[in-house]
Every structure is written in structure tokens, then in C-alpha cells.
């Protein structure tokens, strides 16, 4: 494990009002690797990934304990601006959620709000992000038509392009392919493989084959507790715990 640690979670506990959703999470997330979070429904996968860019703070009465570091700096430090955290740690959601704007404006949105005015740079960045998200060829002739006219798979790649445009360091993906058909899913998986050259990726998935195919590290979560975290290959071929093996072979879940 000579990989460089990008994000680090230390003794993280998380509560929705009085219910504890996550227990004592300790996790290292490695640079330019894909880290997959798997586990049965309701185990806290989505909750955990939301903590990584403080999206959990939009939930009323929720409470987070412990420390989460990005490059050694605590992102929950009161002195840290949440807006800055979310710009550096981007997120792609389960359901494609493009804005009801044009394709161009969707990708340029993050640039606009970060105060970028230079038209040339915005044009360049939109094209580059769409190319990085492998969507450019399909939309280059209709950048100014509505994003809502795209298919589900295209919309999701547009959301990825939108996230990439603000040059995040870490990209979080919360079941990005679960609402898509197999062809679109394959495209997204291919894309993730390309993106890890430049970005650090954390992905939640309920599809174990997907985790096995695309990730370098896998975290198995159950009832809010970390069961096992290791190199993906090991988790899927030689897990150290019986319960992990049972889940992966489909004996429950």
C-alpha cells in the first residue's frame, strides 16, 4: 500500500436526530484510486459519502462527530468555508439532476458562481469538461438546447462534466449508474476508469460486480459499521471475514 492518502476519516460517528447511522468509521482514501463503498440497503453508504463534502449539513437535526481530513486539513474545522470544501470535493448524484438550463450553462454553472468572466476560458473549459465526460461528440452541435432533452445516461455524463468543470480534487459518486440502462452504465464505468488518472474517486454502489470491475479499494459497510476495508481484489477473492464473503457471494443483502 504505497498509495498516497488523499482523504482520511478518523473515528467518525453520525446521527440523524437520535438515531446513530454510522459508527466509528476510520478510512483512508487514496489518490488517483477508485474507492467503492458497498453494503446492503440502509447500511449508511449514501450517508457516509455525503459526509465527505459536508452535504449532510443540509439535513436538519443531523450531527457528525470525529474528523475528516483532506490533505491533512480538517474539512469540518469551523474556520473552513463549506463552499470551498464542496468546490474541491465534487459530487455526482444517484439520479441525474441537470439544471433546467442549456447544456452549455449547466457545465459553465460552477465557473459562473466562482466568478469566472473570461468567455474564452469558459468556452474552453466547457468543451474540455464535456470531452472528459465523453459527451462532447454527442452534444457539440446543440450546446444551447435544453439539458433536459438528453437521455438519462447523457444527463448523468453531463452532471459529471459539470462537476469536472470546477476542477475538484476528489469526485464523489452516489450510485451514479443505478438509474441507467446497461449501455449507459458501461459508458459511465469506462469514464470512471479514465477519470481516476486525474482525480480521486469515491463511489457508492449496490452493484457488487460494478465495484469489482471499477474499484481499487472496497469498503464493506453494514448497519453503519465498517466490516472490512481492503484492496478490491482481496475483498472479492479472499475476504478476511465470513460475513463479507456471505454478502459478496449473495447469501444475503
Amino acid at each position: 500500500m504505497a498509495d498516497k492518502i488523499r482523504m482520511k476519516l478518523e473515528n467518525v460517528n453520525f446521527f440523524y436526530a437520535d438515531t446513530q447511522a454510522l459508527y466509528e468509521i476510520n478510512l483512508d482514501i487514496y489518490q488517483n484510486k477508485v474507492t467503492a463503498i458497498i453494503g446492503p440497503s440502509g447500511c449508511g453508504k449514501s450517508t457516509l459519502i455525503k459526509l465527505l463534502n459536508r452535504m449532510n449539513e443540509l439535513i436538519p437535526n443531523a450531527r457528525c462527530e470525529g474528523n475528516i481530513y483532506l490533505d491533512g486539513h480538517d474539512i469540518y474545522d469551523p474556520k473552513v468555508d463549506v463552499v470551498d470544501v464542496r468546490r474541491r470535493i465534487g459530487m455526482v448524484f444517484q439520479k441525474p439532476n441537470p439544471f433546467p438550463k442549456s447544456i452549455f450553462d449547466n457545465v459553465a454553472y460552477g465557473l459562473y458562481i466562482n466568478g469566472v468572466k473570461d468567455r474564452h476560458y469558459i468556452n474552453y473549459k466547457v468543451e474540455k469538461s464535456l470531452k472528459d465526460a465523453t459527451l462532447w461528440k454527442e452534444v457539440s452541435d446543440r450546446l444551447h438546447s435544453s439539458a433536459l432533452q438528453l437521455s438519462g445516461g447523457q444527463q448523468q455524463r453531463l452532471c459529471i462534466a459539470r462537476t469536472l468543470a470546477v476542477e475538484p480534487e476528489v469526485v464523489l459518486m452516489d450510485e451514479p449508474a443505478s438509474a441507467l440502462d446497461p449501455t449507459s452504465t458501461a459508458k459511465i464505468e469506462e469514464l470512471i476508469q479514465e477519470l481516476k488518472e486525474k482525480y480521486t474517486i469515491v463511489i457508492v454502489t449496490h452493484n457488487m460486480q460494478q465495484a469489482a470491475r471499477i474499484s481499487d479499494y472496497t469498503l464493506f459497510l453494514m448497519l453503519g459499521k465498517m466490516i472490512e476495508y481492503d484492496v478490491t481484489n482481496k475483498i472479492f477473492t479472499n475476504p478476511s471475514k465470513k460475513i463479507t464473503e456471505d454478502y459478496i457471494t449473495g447469501r444475503f443483502g
Binding site: 463534502n53 452535504m55 443540509l58 436538519p60 463552499v83 470551498d84 464542496r86 468546490r87 465534487g90 459530487m91 448524484f93 439520479k95 439532476n97 441537470p98 439544471f99 433546467p100 438550463k101 442549456s102 454553472y109 460552477g110 459562473y112 458562481i113 466562482n114 435544453s146 439539458a147 433536459l148 452532471c159 459539470r162 462537476t163 470546477v166
Partner: protein, 282 residues
């Protein structure tokens, strides 16, 4: 067999209720048109009243209604939308805010004549604006505030939460999210609410009774502190205080028809705007 009959009976009674509603709607339109259409002419729409209101036109009343409506919307639109944004997007979800929400809904149920009395006491007397366009606009504006707030709130709540999440996840602040995503997406809903309120403001008599309206004035108002003629009040005055009921009655029906057409035009505009907004991105 029995279920078939009861089903038919159910459909029939629903159909009947629909017919009765339609009948009244049609009857109003027919009645007003039949009695008013003879009064409508180019002169009626563009001239001032003549010969003790028995001849001439009602142009000052049309213009007055326009001023009052415009003023009321200019006053209540920013206030109402801002209030709705605060309640939907910023305020904590607690009982104080719930209380505010309930109060606003109750405000919508206050009779319009009470708003008229309030306007008389506060704008006309206390703030000394006198019986004027300004007092009338403010009174009407306050009256439609609850409508504009609830329409805006509904429009804001209809914006999918996923839009907000997407914006926050890109590093937008709450205000940037509202300005660039939430408001543009809810604009058509807010506009629809506003335009429906316009229909109500244009037709209200009681709130302007003591605050703005006058039965007759020479020429047109020259400042926001002028009294003003207005269509609904003109109808009321012609029917109750007219000195020549025979000649004046058809003028009143003519006014009613003009008012009806104006409101109808505004509602049509609302529908067109909404369709445009929907087809823009969809």
C-alpha cells in the same frame, strides 16, 4: 350489473354538477354582454364622462384601474416574493415560522372591506397620504400580499430539491443557488400567481372605497396623491348614486364588460407566459 348502474349514476351526477357550474359562468358572460355591448364604442373607451355621467366615456376609470393595479403589484411583488424566499429557503423549520405561515394564510381570509378600513386609518389618515392613488395602491397591495406569498411559496416548493443539491455540491452559496437556480425555475409559477392576483385587484371595490376612488373627476389624475376613478367603483356608484338611472344603467353594464374583458385578457396572458416558460426547457 348493480356496480355498472351505480358507476353510471356517479358519472351522471358529476357531469350534472359540471353543467350547473358552466351554466352560471355562461349566464354571467351572456347577461353582462347582452346588456353592456350596446354601450361599448371607441368613444366609450377613450372619452371622459359627459352630461352628468349619462354620456361620454369611462376612459379615466379604465386608466385609474390600470394605475391602481400596477401600483399594487409594484408594491406587493418584491415584498411577497422576498417573504416567500425567506420562509422557504432560509427560515429554520420551527413553530415560530409555522405561526407566521398560518398568519399569512389567515390574512388571505380577511374581508376586503376590512383592508379598506385599515387603509383609511393608516395610509389616508395616519400617514396623511389622503384619498389618493398611493393610498389605494398600498391598500390593494397589502390585500394581495398573502396571495402572492402563497403562490410564490408553492412555486418555490415545486423546485426539485435535487437542483439545490446540485448547486450546493458545485460550491454555490445559498444565495447564489436561489438567484441562479431556484428563482429562474419557479418564475413561471410566481408570475401565474401574480397575474391571478391582478385579476382580483382590478375588480376589488371595497379596499379603494375609502382610500382612492372618486365617483367623478374632471380629466385625469396628475399625481400619485390624486383621487382616481376606477371601474369597479364606477359601476357601484352608477348603480347606487346615479341621478339618471335610466341612462346610466347601460353605462354600468358597459363598465362591467370592460372589466370582465380586462381580467380575461390578463388571465390569458398568465396562461401564455406559463406555457412559454414550460416549453423553453422541457
Amino acid at each position: 350489473m348493480k356496480r355498472g348502474i351505480s358507476q353510471r349514476l356517479g358519472f351522471f351526477s358529476l357531469f350534472l354538477c359540471m353543467l350547473v357550474t358552466l351554466f352560471f359562468l355562461g349566464a354571467i358572460i351572456y347577461f353582462i354582454t347582452a346588456r353592456g355591448v350596446s354601450a361599448i364604442s371607441w368613444e366609450f373607451l377613450t372619452q371622459v364622462p359627459k352630461k352628468a355621467m349619462t354620456a361620454g366615456g369611462v376612459a379615466p376609470a379604465i386608466l385609474g384601474t390600470f394605475y391602481l393595479t400596477l401600483g399594487a403589484v409594484v408594491f406587493s411583488l418584491p415584498l411577497g416574493v422576498a417573504c416567500a424566499i425567506y420562509l422557504c429557503e432560509y427560515s429554520p423549520k420551527n413553530y415560530v415560522v409555522n405561526l407566521i405561515r398560518i398568519s399569512i394564510n389567515n390574512l388571505a381570509g380577511v374581508p376586503s372591506v376590512v383592508f379598506g378600513l385599515f387603509g383609511l386609518a393608516v395610509f389616508v389618515k395616519f400617514l396623511d397620504f389622503g384619498v389618493s392613488i398611493l393610498s389605494g395602491c398600498l391598500t390593494l397591495g397589502i390585500m394581495i400580499l398573502p396571495n402572492i406569498i402563497s403562490a410564490s411559496q408553492e412555486a418555490l416548493l415545486a423546485v426539485p430539491q435535487s437542483y439545490r443539491e446540485a448547486s450546493f455540491a458545485l460550491g454555490a452559496t445559498r444565495w447564489e443557488t436561489i438567484k441562479r437556480v431556484v428563482l429562474p425555475s419557479s418564475l413561471s409559477g410566481i408570475l401565474t400567481g401574480v397575474i391571478l392576483s391582478i385579476g382580483r385587484v382590478a375588480g376589488e371595490t371595497a379596499p379603494i372605497l375609502f382610500t382612492a376612488a372618486t365617483f367623478y373627476m374632471r380629466g385625469y389624475p396628475n399625481s400619485i396623491f390624486s383621487e382616481v376613478m376606477a371601474l369597479p367603483y364606477h359601476i357601484y356608484a352608477l348603480m347606487t348614486e346615479g341621478t339618471h338611472p335610466q341612462q346610466q344603467r347601460h353605462i354600468a353594464y358597459g363598465c362591467a364588460m370592460v372589466l370582465l374583458i380586462l381580467v380575461l385578457m390578463v388571465s390569458t396572458l398568465a396562461i401564455i407566459i406559463r406555457q412559454k416558460q414550460r416549453s423553453k426547457y422541457g
